[in-house]
């Protein structure tokens, strides 16, 4: 089947009334950005958008936009002349792609009330036509395996049967900005995607302790940023904080079983300062209640104490396998499981406290002065975006 359009249905933004066109406008520009290397053209109106494929492959176009938040679903569509013969011909073509012995239904929307055939007539006509050509199919109007949709509009007739689900949510850029704590593991990229789904833009922060953490583990985090950027059509900024000095200071001053708590407190302190600097209104992390020692309620209480900024934890109550499923879907999983030392694994104490005592932690911390070290870490941080990666360093060779 040669499709010429993609029909894009909006998600939750349809609940908006007065400012809906602002949301639609944001969504349109996101789609345009994702498709800027193609010939496809986006037309967005109040209720839905059409992408004119201009010869582009429908699957590739859908793959490029399906992770954009705000899209409920997409359908590859053929636009045909308003002729009965043509409608019949295409109905059979569609049915040809249905699996043997399956059930189908023809659904008609007749916006053009002047079209000579009524809704029911079209259903009957096309149903009969399909059954004459594909006699192994069965009509089932209640729970069909396939739905062939026919929309009779003023300009043309649109036909489609596939519906590809999007991720829903709200268009990115309509919900402010947050700072994502990105470790390189499975959870944090997923947390980022979840927050972005709600229309919130993100930047990311990562703590790097060379030589204890390798360049490869930093490359891995950059690769996660590349994937997240590609999926969302964004150029997500990654702030890399040099953390070796702070990490060794903690190691020298705080007993092994509490060092994790202090380290996390310092990370959160730095995250809050950076968030303020970049104009973010919240911090996001991939914490999951009870998953590891730092993610027990008592630990969260002790760590969270350093900031008054909201710390959003979209994965808080999910099962690990649900998180993995999402990571696979967002295509970050394979990168996340690459076996390099990340900032959480190298100074890992043998038996971190699952119920750290905040007063004790503060007592140890009071003996180390890190004010200047925090300043230096923030001042010396570097920024990476996926655009760097697109640099054509190997053009000559390739």
């Amino acid at each position: 089947m040669k499709y010429d359009h993609i029909l894009v249905r909006y998600g939750e933004l349809t609940l908006k009334t007065k400012n809906r066109m602002m949301f639609v406008g944001k969504l349109k520009s996101r789609m345009e950005r994702a498709l800027n290397s193609t010939e496809a053209v986006v037309r967005a109106n109040r209720d839905r958008a059409y992408i004119d494929l201009n010869g582009e492959d429908e699957t590739q176009v859908i793959n490029k936009i399906k992770h954009i938040s705000g899209i409920l679903s997409m359908s590859p569509v053929v636009k045909i002349e308003k002729s009965i013969d043509e409608m019949k011909e295409y109905a059979v073509k569609f049915a040809n792609g249905f699996e043997k012995e399956s059930t189908f239904k023809i659904e008609v929307k007749r916006a053009d009330k002047n079209f000579p055939l009524k809704t029911h007539d079209i259903q009957q006509l096309l149903g009969t036509e399909v059954l004459t050509h594909e006699d192994h199919l069965i009509v089932d109007v209640r729970k069909p395996d396939y739905k062939l949709m026919v929309e009779v509009r003023f300009d043309a007739i649109y036909m489609y049967s596939d519906v590809v689900l999007g991720i829903g949510g709200l268009p990115l850029g309509t919900g402010g900005k947050a700072l994502l704590m990105l470790s390189g593991g499975i959870d944090s990229p997923v947390a980022g995607f979840e927050i972005m789904k709600r229309g919130v833009e993100i930047e990311a922060i990562h703590f790097h302790s060379p030589p204890y953490t390798s360049e490869m583990s930093l490359d891995k985090v950059k690769k996660l940023i590349d994937i997240m950027s590609k999926k969302t059509g964004e150029h997500i900024k990654l702030h890399v904080i040099p953390f070796t000095d702070l990490q060794t200071t903690v190691h020298d001053h705080v007993p092994d079983n509490l060092s994790m708590t202090t380290t996390r407190r310092i990370m959160l302190t730095l995250a809050e300062r950076l968030a303020t600097e970049i104009g973010a209104e919240a911090i996001v992390n991939g914490e999951n209640l009870g998953q590891v020692a730092s993610q027990t309620l008592t630990s969260m209480f002790a760590i969270n104490e350093v900031t008054s900024m909201p710390v959003l934890r979209p994965l808080l109550t999910l099962e690990k396998n649900e998180i993995i499923k999402k990571a696979v879907e967002f295509e970050t999983y394979e990168t996340s499981i690459l076996p390099y030392e990340d900032c959480c694994t190298i100074f890992k104490p043998k038996a971190p406290k699952t119920r750290p005592n905040l007063e004790k932690v503060k007592q140890f911390e009071s003996k180390m002065d890190i004010t200047e070290k925090l300043e230096i870490a923030l001042k010396n941080h570097t920024i990476y975006t996926d655009e760097e990666n697109n640099s054509e360093e190997f053009t000559d060779l390739l």
């Binding site: 492959d57 390798s214 360049e215 490869m216």
Partner: protein, 376 residues
């Protein structure tokens, strides 16, 4: 020397050789090393991988690098069969396949029900026959994209569409001859194999492209290169040369092919009314398969070789075997036509002077063989 055996192998392009040398000199590192050199090499490897996938319009597929098409075909066909044997036994394959496909399938002949899809006289597989042979018990269909004997182009897109209704069936395409010569839609293909040296790359580099990495059951176990699917230090210089060669052979492909079409027609027109010669139809302008009826192909190849013109009998890989060529048999040729056949294969760099010398050479041999030949 006039080299017209490009379907057997091509001369590496200057650009590919340059990349090969540069990478050998400056980025010779092991892509699995964790120092900066190794990481740079690994990034180059990934860039090459991405570029090749994009050139083939398969940006969302996965690619592992191998030593060439024979290895790729061995890995994937074994993997697919082993994985699917519990669901069915029927394997459908065209009659036109290369030995690196057929011999792997023959290896499994006691376990699978191997059936050959019929071929039309034009050398294209018969889609009606395919539809007829497909059933719920079928697990694999393997069809080469561009035939290496007569240059017929197979309807890969249509086959892919037909197979959409058979979710269980894996679709494997040996695109070794097609890549760099013709643009095809491989969207619905589950696995694709290719080899660098067929499109002006360096020998010893090839690729296996799949839409699902789980289908690959590695043949080589070891250090875990290529995501555990093909261990062994990665041949980065040759791989980079392959990416470069592919990009360059795909550039202005239509114009290049139009030029070869003219050369191809020139040869065909010249020999059109030679009644002791038979020329096979071809779709790809890179191929001419022609028979000196009554002689043995090998004699013609030797005679041309004396004149400094290098061509081939059937396919180089099988040139030394004495069996009749399956492709020519499949499209309904008589034995004497098959025995007397030679394959001439152009490259994108073939010149008109070379084509003229070929025509002259063929004329000389035609006269030389005289009475040995007889009418078709």
């Amino acid at each position: 020397m006039i080299y017209l055996d490009n379907a057997a192998t091509t001369k590496p392009s200057k650009e590919a050789l340059k990349s090969f040398n540069q990478v050998s000199e400056t980025l010779f590192f092991n892509t699995a090393s964790i120092h900066k050199g190794g990481r740079d090499a690994a990034r180059l490897l990934e860039a090459a991988r991405g570029q090749i996938l994009n050139e083939l319009g398969l940006g969302t597929h996965h690619l592992i690098f191998t030593s060439g098409a024979t290895e790729s075909n061995n890995i994937i066909l074994r993997g697919m069969i082993e994985r699917k044997l519990q669901f069915g036994k029927t394997v459908l394959v065209s009659e036109l396949e290369h030995p690196s496909v057929v011999n792997v399938l023959e290896h499994y002949k006691d376990k699978i029900n191997l059936q050959f899809i019929k071929t039309t006289p034009q050398g294209v597989i018969d889609l009606d026959d395919l539809k007829e042979k497909l059933n719920d018990e079928c697990i694999l269909v393997s069809v080469m994209a561009l035939n290496n004997i007569i240059g017929s182009i197979q309807p890969i897109e249509e086959i892919g569409q037909i197979l959409q209704s058979y979710k269980k069936v894996y679709f494997h395409v040996d695109a070794t001859q097609a890549v760099g010569k013709v643009t095809l839609d491989y969207k619905n293909v589950d696995a694709l194999t290719l080899s660098a040296h067929k499109f002006y790359g360096i020998k010893g580099a090839g690729a296996l492209i799949v839409n699902d990495m789980n289908v690959i059951d590695p043949l080589l176990l070891g250090g875990g290169h290529e995501k555990d699917k093909r261990s062994g230090t990665v041949n980065l210089p040759a791989i980079v040369g392959m990416a470069k060669a592919l990009r360059i052979s795909n550039e202005n492909l239509t114009q290049k092919n139009d030029r070869l079409e003219q050369f191809n027609n020139k040869v065909r027109t010249h020999f059109n009314d030679y009644n002791k010669m038979k020329i096979q139809d071809a779709q790809s302008p890179y191929f001419i398969n022609l028979s000196f009826v009554g002689a043995k192909g090998e004699i013609v190849v030797n005679a041309l070789s004396e004149l400094g013109i290098y061509v081939s009998t059937t396919s180089a890989c099988a040139s030394k075997s004495n069996e009749l060529n399956e492709t020519l048999l499949a499209i309904g040729n008589k034995n004497d036509v098959i025995e007397g056949s030679i394959r001439i294969s152009f490259s994108q760099n073939t010149t008109e002077e070379e084509v003229d010398a070929l025509i002259k050479g063929l004329d000389t041999v035609y006269k030389q063989l005289g009475d040995i030949l007889h009418e078709v």
